[in-house]
């Protein structure tokens, strides 16, 4: 019998640990009542953005997508509309995060990046709603009010991320970005 062995690297452990953190935050958030469906602070994304700054885009993308799948499993929502909404939001915001890496750090803090990601998250979700869940043009009416909440939560999450990044010692300057 040949046993299959995976080589677990340090990066794997980091991704796993950070994903657990994101899942935990997501579960805490899910236990709070929301005044409207779709209006959520998205505190799990604090982890994703923190990872983006400290570990780079590839790790952040892994953490974000793993979080979506793992939360889907944990909440029993895997491959339901809720799950696909979550996935659409995650993919859209990752796309914008990839672009946002090009923003100069001197002028744009984590607040900008967080706001842009939150707005993209909503845009991705509303696109999915328009294309699949409620395929009528009126679905676009959701966009602007949800964007407003995204802006507010994006700013608050961004401030938290910036505070977190400033509190921690800077990573090794020569090797990491």
């Amino acid at each position: 019998m040949q046993s299959i062995q995976f080589k677990i690297t340090l990066a794997d452990r980091q991704i796993a640990g950070l994903t657990v953190l994101a899942i935990g935050l997501h579960m805490i958030e899910a236990s709070f009542p929301s005044p409207l469906p779709g209006v959520k602070p998205g505190i799990a994304n604090i982890v994703v953005l923190f990872v983006l700054y400290r570990f780079g885009f590839a790790t952040a993308a892994s953490v974000s997508l793993l979080r979506v799948f793992a939360s889907g499993l944990l909440f029993g929502q895997l491959f339901t509309p809720t799950f696909f909404l979550s996935l659409a939001g995650a993919i859209a915001s990752l796309g914008v995060l990839w672009l946002a890496q090009a923003l100069p750090r001197k002028a744009f803090s984590a607040v900008s990046v967080s706001v842009l990601a939150a707005m993209a998250h909503i845009f991705g979700q509303v696109c999915l709603v328009r294309l699949w869940l409620i395929p009528v043009p009126q679905a676009w009416l959701l966009l602007s009010p949800l964007w407003l909440t995204a802006l507010l939560f994006g700013i608050s999450n961004g401030l938290m991320i910036q505070a977190l990044l400033n509190q921690l010692a800077p990573p090794h300057q020569p090797s990491t970005d």
Partner: protein, 145 residues
């Protein structure tokens, strides 16, 4: 004694403020780009805000049980009676607006919808199977491109 209480409350409040400031001092504040981003996002939000993007309706369509009763111009003063399974619903058109003014249904949600004037708005009376749909150009079809 009251004075001392007030002073002590002031002191406690200042202590709390100092603690709050200490807690937030590692936030450097927003950078230029952040304000730019926020302004840009606010602009987008205003641009696509439903009220701004809904055009004024010119006509309304009234349906009962899947049948189109008729399409009516909103530039007139008119009451239209529509017969449904529960009785007669009355639709009132006046000054470019339209509403249900009387309905035989139990919950009266259709009346609570109030006056409608924007293209794409809808008022329904499910029990009596009557609907009003406002027709007209909508503002933001360009979003689809």
């Amino acid at each position: 004694m009251a004075d001392r209480g007030a002073w002590s409350a002031c002191f406690t409040m200042m202590q709390w403020l100092a603690r709050l400031k200490r807690g937030f001092q590692h936030i450097d504040g927003l950078l230029v780009g952040d304000w730019l981003t926020i302004a840009l996002c606010l602009g987008l939000i205003l641009l696509y805000w439903p009220e701004a993007s809904l055009g004024q309706a010119k006509k309304c369509q009234i349906r009962q049980g899947g049948q189109v009763i008729g399409v009516y111009d909103l530039d007139q003063r008119r009451r239209i009676s529509v017969k449904g399974p529960l009785g007669v619903s009355v639709v009132q058109i006046q000054q470019g607006k339209v509403r249900f003014s009387q309905a035989p249904c139990h919950n009266q949600y259709c009346l609570q919808q109030g006056w409608l004037s924007h293209a794409g708005e809808v008022a329904l009376c499910l029990p009596n199977q009557v609907s009003i749909i406002l027709l007209g150009e909508r503002g933001f079809d360009s979003l689809a491109y």
